[in-house]
Amino acid sequence: MTNNTVISVRNLVKKFGNFTANDNLNFEVFKGEIFGFLGANGAGKTTTIRILSGLSVPTSGDALVAGFSALHQPEEIKKIIGYMCQKFSLYEDLTVRENIMLYGGIYGLNRKLIKERTNDLLEKLNFGAYGNKLIASLPLGLKQKLAFSVAVLHEPEIVFLDEPTGGVDPVTRRQFWEMIYETASRGITVFVTTHYMDEAEYCDRISIMNEGSIVALDTPANLKKQYDAESVEEVFVKIARPPIPHKFVLKQEE
C-alpha cells in the first residue's frame, strides 16, 4: 500500500447464503482519483460499496478505507466518507438550509462552520434565492447537485456515488461531472458507479465487475486498446455479459 492509496481491498468475499456477491476482490484506489465502478445489474457493485462504506461486514478478507478496516472499524470509516445513493437523499419537506444544517450536524460540523459552508455552497451553485425554499419545490437537476454538495460538505476523504445521475438531463449531468472533477481536484477521492458509458470515459480509472468478480481494471484508454474497442461501451459489452439464468443453462444441457 503506497502513501496515496486510500482504498485497498484484499481478498474480499461476501456471501449471502449460497450466493457469492463478491468473489475474492483485490484492488486499490488512489487519493484524488475518480474511480469508475461498472458492472451489469446484479454484478455485486452495491454489495462492495456497502462494505467499503461500513454498512455491511465482509464474509472474509478485508478492505482498508482511509486506513480503517471495514471489518473492524466501520464506525471510523463512516466518519470520513461521504455517500450519495441512487435514490434522492435529501428531505423534501425541509428547506435547502435545513437539509444542509442536518447533514452538517450529523457529520459533526459546528454551527458556525455549517453556516459558512452553506453560504459558500449557495453562492457557488447560484442557489442564493433557493436557501429557504423547500427541497420539494426544486427541479430534479438542482436537487441532485445539492445532494452531491451535501455529501461532500464535511470534506470527506472519499465520496461514494451510487448511480448519482440516474434520470438527470444531459446538461445537468455535464454540470454534475464538472462538480465531480472539482471535488477530485481538492483531493477528495470519488468512487462512482454508473450505467452511462460516456460518464465512464470521464473517470481516471474504471473497473468492470461481472458475477461478483472484477474482470477488468485500468484507465479507459488502456482498456479500449486492450479490447480493441472504440469506446468504453464496447469494452463493457464485450466482457460484462449479463449472467445467464440457470433455467436457461439447464435447458441447453438437455
Binding site: 463512516k78 466518519k79 455517500y83 435514490k87 437523499s89 428531505y91 425541509l94 435545513e98 444544517m101 450529523i106
Partner: protein, 369 residues
C-alpha cells in the same frame, strides 16, 4: 450528542410541517373525546316516550308526569288506541310506548295491582334495554311511594341496585380510558412505523445508516418526538375529560402518568417492530391499522366486555397489550386504586416492551447481514 439533537430537531420539523400528522396527533384525540362523549352516549337523556292511557285517571296522570319529569324522558305523544303504537314508533323519535290498562286506577285501589305495558323499540337493542330499565326503575319508585302513602301493610321487599365507582352509570367513565388506550397505540405504533418506513422508502435511511449516527441513535431520534407528543396527548385527553365531562382521576396522577409513559414506550417499540417487517409505508399502515387498531377497539374490552367473549377471542385478547393498559387506567382513574392492584398488568406491559425491542433488534441485525 449534537449530531443526535440535530437529528431530533429534523424529526420535529417533519411533524410540524405536515398538517396531516398534526391532525392525527392533536385533532384526533380531541375529536375522539368529543365524539365518544356526545355522540356515542350510553346515557339516556330526553328519550321520547308516548303514552297510551286507556284509563285516564288521577294515578295514570301521576305516573306519566313522574316519568316525564325525571329528566330521562320527554313526552312525544298521547295515543288513542293500539294502532297508533306502530305509527308513532315508525316516526323514530319515540323509543318506548307506555300502555296503561283500562280502569288502571280502580284496579290498583281495589285489587292492589294494575298493569302497565312498556313497549320498546327493539330495532335499537341497547337503547331499548336502557329505556326499559330506566322506566321500570321509575315505576318501581312510584310503587313504593304509593304503597307508602296508602299505608298498606303489604311491605314488599324492594331490591335496590347501586352502581359502585360509577354511580350515574356514566358512559364517559368507560370511554375516556378507552380513547387514551386507542389513541396512544394509534399515534405511537402507526406514526413511528410510518415515519421509519418513510425513510426507507425515500432512500434517506441508507444515507443515515452510512453516516456516523449509530442505528440506535437513528431509531431513538425518530421515536423521541413521538414520545413527547403522545405524552402531551395523554395530558390533553385527561384535561378535556376533566373540564368537559367532569371525569376526575381518583387515584394517583403520578402513577397514572408513569403508567402512560410505559404504555407509550410499549407502543413505540411495537411501531419500531412493525417498521422492521414492513418495506413500504402502505404495509406499515396496513399492519398498524388492521393488526392493532381493530383488535384494540374490538378485543381490548374497550367496547365489548372480555368476560362475555368466546374463549378463542379471550385468548387473542390476552396477547394484546392494550387490554392490560385499559385495566390499569380504569383502576387508577375510576376506582382510585394504587400500584399494588395493577402491578401484574404493569409487569406484562414491561415484558411486551422488552419483547418488541428484542425482536426489532433481531430483525434489524438480520437485515444488515
Amino acid at each position: 450528542m449534537n449530531r443526535f439533537l440535530g437529528f431530533v430537531r429534523k424529526e420535529f420539523l417533519h411533524i410540524f410541517r405536515d398538517y396531516r400528522t398534526l391532525i392525527i396527533l392533536f385533532g384526533l384525540p380531541a375529536a375522539q373525546i368529543m365524539l365518544f362523549g356526545y355522540v356515542v352516549s350510553t346515557d339516556i337523556k330526553n328519550a321520547g316516550v308516548a303514552f297510551l292511557d286507556l284509563s285516564k285517571d288521577e294515578i295514570t296522570v301521576k305516573i306519566s308526569d313522574k316519568i316525564c319529569s325525571s329528566g330521562f324522558f320527554k313526552r312525544t305523544g298521547d295515543l288513542i288506541d293500539y294502532n297508533d303504537i306502530d305509527r308513532v314508533m315508525k316516526m323514530g323519535n319515540t323509543k318506548a310506548v307506555i300502555v296503561f290498562e283500562n280502569d288502571f286506577g280502580r284496579n290498583l285501589m281495589s285489587e292492589g295491582k294494575a298493569e302497565i305495558s312498556i313497549i320498546a323499540d327493539g330495532s335499537e337493542p341497547n337503547t331499548a334495554t336502557l329505556v326499559t330499565n330506566y322506566l321500570t326503575a321509575i315505576i318501581t319508585d312510584f310503587n313504593r311511594e304509593f304503597s307508602g302513602s296508602s299505608a298498606s301493610l303489604s311491605l314488599s321487599v324492594q331490591s335496590e341496585v347501586r352502581m359502585f365507582y360509577n354511580p350515574g352509570l356514566k358512559g364517559h367513565y368507560m370511554f375516556v380510558p378507552g380513547v387514551i388506550t386507542l389513541i396512544m397505540i394509534l399515534i405511537c405504533a402507526l406514526m413511528t412505523s410510518v415515519t421509519i418506513t418513510r425513510e426507507k422508502e425515500f432512500g434517506t435511511m441508507e444515507v443515515l445508516m452510512v453516516s456516523p449516527l449509530k442505528p440506535v441513535q437513528i431509531i431513538l431520534g425518530k421515536v423521541m418526538p413521538y414520545f413527547f407528543l403522545s405524552f402531551i396527548d395523554v395530558i390533553i385527553i385527561l384535561l378535556l375529560s376533566w373540564l368537559v365531562f367532569d371525569l376526575p382521576v381518583k387515584g394517583s396522577l403520578v402513577l397514572l402518568l408513569s403508567e402512560s409513559m410505559l404504555y407509550i414506550m410499549m407502543s413505540l417499540s411495537l411501531g419500531i417492530l412493525i417498521s422492521t417487517v414492513s418495506g413500504t409505508m402502505q404495509q406499515a399502515i396496513f399492519i398498524s391499522l388492521v393488526g392493532m387498531m381493530l383488535p384494540t377497539v374490538l378485543l381490548s374490552g374497550f367496547i365489548f366486555p372480555i368476560e362475555n367473549m368466546p374463549v378463542a377471542y379471550r385468548w387473542i385478547s390476552s396477547v394484546l397489550p392494550p387490554g392490560y393498559f385499559l385495566v390499569i387506567l380504569k383502576n387508577i382513574m375510576i376506582k382510585g386504586t394504587g400500584f399494588f392492584y395493577v402491578w401484574k398488568e404493569t409487569l406484562i406491559l414491561v415484558l411486551f416492551t422488552v419483547a418488541f425491542i428484542g425482536l426489532s433488534v433481531r430483525n434489524f441485525k438480520i437485515r444488515l447481514q
